[in-house]
């Protein structure tokens, strides 16, 4: 496909929008060549449409000019999904930030895709409602990006990931067609296109409006911190709580290194000497909270938890969650860069995989820290490193590959909530055979027959049956992954 460097192309987009919403300064383009991952691509031009009509116009012009289109929300994604390659056109929805409608009766909200996740929950708090998916990046990530990645978060353990909370959407396809899929009336006839688009990583269309389900705040919430003498004990307690018939609202684990880094950052009086800390939240009616708390405490003590610290009030609860959600920022105290992984393993294999990750890091002489969604087996091993050290970077990638393979070997999946993007694209054959990759490619091509939307993401080259592969797996020169 063409690249967009020629000034005449930029002028064509300026004619559609206006000068300040078309970005072609080289320095700014470099910003848009990255996202929250460590991947760096090549951005040709950035456009900032504010309406569906403008998105359609940009997509149509891109088709006329034979440009690849890379949709972008806040750019906080962690798998390179929003990273443009080969000078593609970035269509940012960051200016589409209106909350169009809040309907407390459904309850639901209809929003533009650039609305930030936390802003949405803040906008409905006075109604006693909230939006359930709560990624750690929720202060910065957009609802549109959440839809693209099928984002999760700690509270998805009981409430489910984004796909369970998107009722309907408006989407612009690669040829500029606009479709309204789903809505508040459940189960319309035909295939669940709405459900399929969630997690499509911007390869199926550009979502220009989303109707999300809101949830009523539970009448009572109890948030507990449990400290354990070993990671194994904490992992076994997680299994014990679930086996005890309790699916907590959230169940997060932090290892000692991470707890210490976080404590320096938030001063929450965390148990820094514990080998592992569990943050468990239960909610519901007073009777439900009491029953679930009893199970959590009982199982915790049976597995050696020293004490169960219950958040005394909303302030302390917020502090516990701040500790959890600022974990990634706290890593800056350990090393300048980090590589955050995102695999899911069967809960029953959690401990064994954590121990293996420890060995992998040690063998490569790397620091690995863990903070993750223990309740659903969603691991987030984080490798701290210094990007300036090329040899270390190589070890980081090698360790990452080992970790992914270790997770897959016990029946795990490549991503729990971050997505595939560029980062894990070439790992897809680890979990899907050729026929399955071809089936995914066929479904994608049905949405985007022109192959214009976010090309080269999610599916490795050669996924399509009979696709000619001259240089399998290669990324364009200059791409830094």
């Amino acid at each position: 496909m063409a690249t967009v460097r020629a000034p005449s192309i930029s002028d064509r987009f300026v004619a559609l929008l206006d000068r300040e919403r078309v970005i072609d300064h080289p320095l700014e383009r470099r910003l848009y060549a990255r996202d929250g991952s460590i991947a760096e691509g090549d951005c040709g031009l950035v456009v900032l449409p504010e309406t569906t009509e403008e998105v359609v116009a940009c997509v149509r012009l891109a088709a006329e000019l034979d440009l690849a289109v890379v949709p972008r929300g806040s750019g906080t994604g962690l798998c390179g999904g929003a990273v443009p390659l080969r000078g593609g056109l970035v269509v940012s929805v960051a200016r589409m930030t209106r909350v169009l409608e809040i309907d407390p009766e459904v309850p639901c909200a209809r929003v533009e895709p650039g609305v930030l996740n936390l802003d949405l929950s803040n906008a409905v708090r006075h109604l006693g409602l909230h939006y359930a998916p709560d990624p750690s990046s929720q202060q910065a990530c957009s609802i549109g990006g959440n839809v693209a990645t099928n984002a999760g978060g700690p509270h998805c353990l009981a409430s489910g990931v984004t796909a369970q909370h998107v009722l309907g959407m408006e989407i612009v396809l690669g040829d500029g067609e606009v479709l309204r899929l789903g809505g508040t009336a459940p189960d319309p006839p035909g295939y669940d296109l709405r459900g399929f688009v969630v997690g499509g990583e911007g390869t199926l269309g550009i979502v220009t409006e989303v109707t999300v389900r809101l949830m009523r705040n539970p009448p009572e919430v109890r948030t507990m911190l449990l400290d354990f003498p070993s990671v194994r004990a904490a992992g076994e307690a997680v299994g014990g709580i679930i086996s005890g018939g309790v699916i907590p609202a959230a169940m997060e684990m932090m290892d000692r290194l991470m707890t210490r880094a976080v404590e320096q950052f938030v001063h929450a009086d965390l148990p820094v000497d514990a080998a592992a800390v569990l943050l468990v939240e239960v909610d519901g009616t007073p009777a439900e909270v009491a029953a679930h708390t009893a199970v959590v405490e009982g199982v915790g003590h049976a597995h050696g938890a020293g004490r169960v610290r219950v958040a005394r009030d909303e302030g302390e609860r917020a502090l516990f969650w701040k500790a959890r959600k600022s974990a990634f920022g706290a890593v800056a105290r350990v090393a300048p860069n980090y590589y955050l992984h995102d695999c899911v393993v069967p809960r029953t294999r959690l401990v064994e995989v954590l121990e293996q990750i420890e060995r992998i890091a040690a063998a490569r002489d790397l620091i690995v820290m863990n903070v993750f969604h223990a309740g659903d087996g969603n691991l987030h091993p984080l490798i701290a490193f210094d990007r300036r050290d090329a040899e270390q970077v190589e070890r980081v990638h090698a360790a990452g590959k080992d970790i992914i393979e270790a997770c897959v070997a016990v029946g795990g999946v490549l991503s729990g909530e971050h997505g595939i993007g560029l980062e894990k694209r070439d790992f897809m054959p680890l979990t899907f055979d050729a026929v399955s990759l071809d089936a995914q490619a066929r479904a994608r091509d049905a949405f985007d027959p022109g192959g214009r939307l976010n090309p080269e993401k999610v599916l490795p080259l050669g996924s399509r049956c009979g696709e000619l592969v001259l240089d399998a797996g290669s990324l364009p020169p200059g791409t830094w992954l």
Binding site: V106, T149, C156, V161, A163, Q164, L179, R180, L181, G183, A185, P186, D187, P189, G190, Y191, D192, L193, G195, F196, V198, G199, G200, R216, P219, I242, S243, G245, V246, T285, A287, E288, A290, V344, P346, R347, T348, D376, G377, N378, G412, L414, S415, G416, E417, H418, I420, T431, F432, V435, D438, A439, Q440, R442, A443, R444, A446, F447, V458, L459
Partner: protein, 351 residues
């Protein structure tokens, strides 16, 4: 004469479909046959594939809350298996004779959807034998995962038109400590009041059902929470579902269900509105009943499909086509290029 296909394994199912595609023979797909009277009336297919021979339990990991089974397994057998570990598949509408694959292909969500979600949210991994006889896997066996395109969501509700669901991994849930049905008989305005109070909590009911003359609430949770709400009495069990010559399933924005119920009652139709969810089952006797009930649903911003009934009730089983019909056709062609599978079941030739 319809030829019977009874594969015992997913591989046999795929081979049978590859051969049928080659021969351009139309194929009907049947699980337990409890939801097969849907779609447009059509002559018998050249071949009828029954999934009942594929009924192995591939893996059951109680501590992971997952189970992997072949699609022809009876849903009641799966329920017993789950119950033996104190677990359940609470999103599913399980009928006597239903298969696991059939429940999913029909996207048949049960009465606990209000609290537990839709059945499409319970499918973690799917293996389908596509129309051209290839075994494709989508999703993953862990309770959470976003790797690759969500073929499971495409398969649920596809009524066997993309391929035959041959194996699935489901997410199970712990069985609640207690559960109970509570109900009252009252005029519509009072019933709507009961429903609104039940939905407002503090307990999150599993189900709030409105029917002509009656309202019923199912509560689940600790014993202390399973007590009659004010004005309701304990019922001996779940209320009966509406039954007629046929069944229509309407979907409207949840706040409009009260209006839907009022209009159906005015028209003398028997229904079960699932309050807070937005779905409503309507018993229909005649094509005129279908048309009347559908007109009300459409007027409220919804839709209505005939989900069961004899041929004369299914002349127009779907109503107006939803947005994206062309895209749906491209998807079907991608998975069933010869167009052999269940051609009458989903809205392909809507006028």
């Amino acid at each position: 004469m319809t030829e019977a296909l009874s594969p015992a394994t997913p591989q046999e199912a795929a081979a049978a479909l590859a051969e049928a595609s080659e021969a351009r023979a139309s194929v009907g797909v049947v699980g337990g046959g409890t939801r097969s009277r849907r779609g447009r009336p059509a002559p018998p297919p050249d071949r009828l594939l029954r999934t009942g021979g594929m009924r192995r339990v591939v893996a059951h990991e109680p501590a992971d809350l997952t189970v992997t089974v072949e699609s022809g397994l009876a849903a009641t057998v799966l329920a017993e298996l789950a119950a033996s570990a104190g677990q359940a598949w609470p999103q599913a509408d399980i009928r006597e004779g239903s298969t696991v694959g059939g429940v999913l292909a029909a996207a048949a969500s049960g009465r606990r959807r209000l609290r537990m979600g839709a059945v499409r949210d319970s499918l973690l991994e799917v293996v389908i034998a596509t129309g051209d006889g290839r075994l494709a896997t989508g999703g993953g066996r862990t309770v959470k995962g976003v790797a690759g395109y969500d073929l499971p969501r495409l398969a649920v509700g596809s009524l066997g038109t993309l391929g035959v669901i041959v194996q699935v991994t489901l997410k199970l849930w712990p069985v609640p400590a207690a559960s109970g049905w509570f109900g009252a008989e009252a005029p519509l305005a009072d019933r709507l009041g009961v429903a609104a109070r039940a939905l407002a909590g503090p307990a999150r009911p599993a189900s709030v059902l409105l029917a002509p003359g009656a309202v019923a609430v199912e509560l689940i949770g600790p014993e202390e929470d399973v007590r009659p709400p004010e004005g309701l009495e304990a019922l001996p069990g779940a209320p009966p579902e509406p039954a007629g010559r046929g069944l229509l399933e309407a979907g409207v924005p949840p706040p409009r269900l009260g209006e839907l119920a009022a209009r159906l009652e005015e028209g003398g139709l028997v229904y079960e509105a699932r309050m807070g969810v937005g779905t409503c089952l309507v018993a229909v006797e005649t094509a005129d009943d279908v048309a009347r009930a559908r007109a009300v649903a459409l007027g409220l911003g919804g839709h209505a499909q005939v989900v069961d009934g004899p041929d004369d009730l299914r002349a127009d089983p779907w109503g107006p086509a939803p947005p994206g019909l062309e895209l749906m056709r491209r998807l079907r062609d991608a998975f069933d290029p010869a167009g052999i599978l269940n051609r009458d079941k989903l809205l392909w030739e809507v006028s």
